[in-house]
Amino acid sequence: MTDYAAPSAYASRQRSRTGQIALRWLLYALLCLFALYYLMPLFVMVTTSLKSLEEIRTGSLVSLPRKVTFDAWATAWSGACTGIQCEGLRPYFLNSMMLAIPAVALSTLFGALNGYVIAQWRFKGANLIFSLMLFGCFIPFQVVLLPMARVLGMMGLAGTIPGLIFVHVIYGLGFTTLFFRNYYVSIPNELVKAAKVDGAGFFRIFWSIFLPLSLPIIVVTVIWQFTQIWNDFLFGVSFSQAGTQPVTVALNNIVNSTTGVKEYNVDMAAAIIAALPTLLVYIVAGKYFIRGLTAGSVKG
């Protein structure tokens, strides 16, 4: 009985092995197809931006450029017209930088402080406050446009970059607090107690013990906040004026305000330039997505 059973079991194992390999290849093929589908627009954008207008008019959308030219990129950066001015994206790109960097830094720092207080310095009503901040994450931004415009006006910050920074910091706090609170809540409270016995105060404990522990969550928060703030259009278009507009608004103006022949290559180059910083943040910071930095610090 066993003599017969053994070879047949072997054969069936063999069969299932081949089946598994086939399945694996099918999976890869499918994944490649999806990847192709997702990369297609990027491919079209990059190739189009490297073609001359002449070639765009005569060639096919998906063909490679016959002659690579960076003219469109140069125009997009420093010559494209946004309405009446023709300075390209450069000044607006700088606006976005001056806006996004402080806004990300401040909202991350305040989020860390909030999370630290809510998770580690429990006080009466801490949960209520946390719930309210969470609620803030789900408020549609359209709702706050008018009240915020009024507040900015009263503060004398209407149409300025500090005003935009203020708006982004306020509306980022919900998420950044949530991130840090959830991270810090898993850190045993005994750390705070030990530091208190050692004589450290509120800020000392935050600065010397909690912040150094927070690299992974800081990276997550920075990526999230930078993407949100850099890509924001609604606040940018609502609370800025000529000269303080962020890059997203300028991109829109470049694409929508051209007259005559549509310069697809310039539009594409401008869109890529506007998207580059977020891409860069992902590539640089993604490396630091290290988990378990606290692993093993507590419990044996």
Partner: protein, 365 residues
């Protein structure tokens, strides 16, 4: 001698929930006080109150003669070792140990000297540049102790420091803590739920239950003269036998009647305790019940009982039989001939007996 720690009428409540009720404890310098009790009895809360990490709702707390009731932890001149060690994960061992001194502004040279001294004492010199995450449980425990030692405080506080270690290491570290206490002559307060730790380490034990102190005393007092049924049952392993019995005055002795499985009630005569209530619970530790012939003394009395279970444990053999409707464990010598289902003559040492009131659970004599 002025007490190093003096707790007077301490109360602690969270809203309407009373966690600690009217706690009064005092220890002199050099004492090793152990707070012991089942989980949820308030022992850790009491320790946190001593450390100043939890505000107290009533009463006063003195450390070294100074009223510390409203003083912040850093000014209480204490050091604390936590259950999870609570080492700062991003700092090296050396930085962990010197962090407190750095915060207090102690100069670099003193920091260095102290660090060298303590790391030598605890034999953690090779570990100084490592992170806590790279240490084993026992090493982390040592570092946590080092952090407490450098402070040279008036009072050391330990919050179940050994409960995360495996059994073998726990015994080693227990001995080490005992040695440390002996060498330093320091005053310590130690929280544990392990009654063996309490017995081996303490010079004074506080047994707690439900936020109320059940008994304060030396390990010998707690072990030999438990104040109530809870203490009797909680301290000692295997636990004290608590046997329902009837007492009857008889001349200058008292007849103690205990129900037995076969052969009518077992009758012992106690000549020490003349005034017992009629219903009592007789408490006798397993080691005070021996095989007849192996225990002699003025108060030893023998009687036959049916053996239920025999559990050899190497050094001793535990024999379980039924008395007064309860399982009664006797600690016999290893070579005993006791066999399950057979009667055996036991020797009861009534010189070591405790009696409790069944209703209140309090000790009667």
């Amino acid at each position: 001698m002025t007490p190093i720690l003096d707790i007077k009428n301490l109360c602690k409540s969270y809203g309407p929930v009373e966690i600690l009720k009217d706690i009064n404890v005092s220890i002199v310098p050099g004492d090793f006080l152990v707070l012991v009790g089942p989980s949820g009895c308030g022992k850790s809360t009491l320790l946190n109150c001593i450390a100043g990490l939890e505000p107290i709702s009533g009463g006063d707390l003195f450390i070294g003669g100074r009223n510390m009731t409203n003083v912040s932890p850093k000014d209480r001149d204490i050091a604390m070792v936590f259950q999870s060690y609570a080492l700062y994960p991003t700092m090296s061992v050396a930085k962990n140990i010197t962090f407190g001194m750095k915060v207090r502004g102690v100069d670099q040279a003193t920091q260095k000297a102290k660090l060298a001294e303590v790391s030598k004492q605890l034999q953690i010199e090779p570990l100084l540049n490592r992170r806590p995450g790279q240490l084993s449980g026992g090493q982390r425990q040592r570092v946590a102790m080092g952090r407490a030692l450098v402070r040279d405080p008036k009072l050391f506080l330990f919050d179940e420091p050994l409960s995360n270690l495996d059994a073998k290491l726990r015994v080693e570290m227990r001995t080490e803590i005992k040695r440390l206490h002996h060498d330093l002559g320091a005053s310590m307060v130690y929280v544990t739920h392990d009654q063996i730790e309490a017995m081996t380490l303490a010079s004074k034990i506080v047994v707690m239950k439900g936020g109320v102190i059940q008994q304060i005393g030396t390990p010998a007092e707690i072990y030999n003269r438990p104040q109530n049924l809870f203490v009797a049952d909680f301290m000692g392993s295997p636990a004290m036998n608590l046997i329902p019995a009837k007492a009857q005055k008889n001349g200058n002795g008292t007849k103690i009647k205990i129900d037995r499985e076969a052969g009518g009630p077992l009758v012992l005569t106690d000549t020490n305790n003349p005034d017992l209530p009629e219903d009592v619970i007789l408490g006798l530790r397993p080691e005070d019940i021996a095989e007849a012939g192996y225990r002699t003394g003025e108060h030893v009395q023998t009687a036959n009982c049916l053996v239920d279970i025999v559990e050899p444990a190497g050094a001793d053999t535990f024999v379980v039989s039924q008395l007064g409707g309860k399982e009664v464990t006797a600690r016999l010598h290893a070579e005993t001939k006791a066999t399950p289902g057979q009667p055996l003559e036991f020797a009861f040492d009534l010189g070591k007996v405790s009696y409790f009131e069944p209703e209140s659970g309090q000790r009667v004599s």
